[in-house]
Subunit: 126 residues, 4 copies
């Protein structure tokens, strides 16, 4: 799935670029869209992040419209991988790409748990 | 080098954990300390980030004092790698670790440039 | 003008509320929409903020859709006032309201300057 | 009480100034210091914000060391006022000032409650 990113003025740094840490927030916004809108899951998610990677490819300057694509690229027993691509809308240029590893988590017991059938079906839609 | 992290209330998410994107900001704070305080370089740095990775190891809850260690782990012609470890001060537990790849950058010409001798010497101190 | 607010997970604090400082960012997003979309001005604005006030009226919880209304409520020679209302979309409940004072600013000369005719006409549309 | 502010790179906007919303975060940091360090209260506070005001006085540029002063300026039955001054350390110049109104809050009952004797004594120390 792919959707437009609404950036905010504080996303930009002193050089007019999107700040490096903000891309993890962009990834998080994409996860929210996937999790809630596509998968119909509750807004405060019961998974944790095990890993996050970003590769910065080109500069995204203030005023440039961006979009993000999120794809489920691997599903294991308790964890899955989402991959991301942030692009400039005007020329389709890749700005950044990355991946995050999510683990289903029981917050009461503080331990990883298997992915439910329902979540597994949802992940296939993303 | 290792130094204490002053966290802020907005660093914590709805579950009382440090938000995943905030770790890239912690890494950035460590870079600032290394670049300005240790290496004596100007506050608005002339390098760009090519890559960032975070591995989330344990939960850091609100109220927990954290510190961060930054180490130069690789120096190439135009780029270098910094590695990070965020730990809980009370028990020394690893909270997160990661690495970033920096590239010296000529903002006027918009291209990577070789690391100067001065920066190279500074990197050896971190 | 009134438009939907896309919130982000880090906007929420440990209690699941929108963090108090985030409302100034919401106001800034509304200003961006007014300045760029309605008034057709450049994305990196040449005014400064002289004052900001927020009154927190009710709790906005995670998952609640919000919108924001921005209105020009006063125009002076070099400054103007924008007023804001953030509401819950589901029940129209007022969440927060506030105002900011903007001053046209010459960044080269570091001094306030009169509002141009073009900006003045634009302000009447907001 | 007065203490140094550790700024972060994302605090600065495209013009190299501290972003306007960040001052509410600076005020929040001062409240945290007052509440936890001076008053010995728990880290996740049981008061809510009713109002916040900021007056932007001079530009704080990247690299400039700032400090903040927080003072209890009014104590009512259920609410109190904290006032703030952010200054540049090098020349003592006032950068911004403001005030916030806090209300003691019972999160279970969702209603304001009177300030306890213990909190009242603590407020007198700030």
């Amino acid at each position: 799935m792919r959707f437009p990113l609404e950036t905010r003025y504080p996303d930009y740094d002193t050089k007019g670029h999107v700040n490096n840490a903000t891309f993890l927030t962009f990834f998080e916004m994409a996860r929210g869209r996937a999790w809630v809108d596509v998968m119909g899951q509750p807004v405060d998610p019961d998974f944790i992040l095990a890993e996050a990677n970003v590769r910065y490819v080109s500069e995204a300057m203030i005023g440039e419209q961006l979009d993000i694509e999120i794809t489920t690229t691997e599903v294991r027993t308790k964890a899955w991988v989402w991959s991301y691509a942030v692009r400039s809308v005007s020329d389709g240029r890749l700005v950044a790409e990355g991946r995050t590893v999510q683990v289903m988590f029981d917050y009461a017991d503080k331990r990883p748990i298997p992915i439910s059938e329902e979540v597994r079906k949802g992940l296939a839609l993303v």
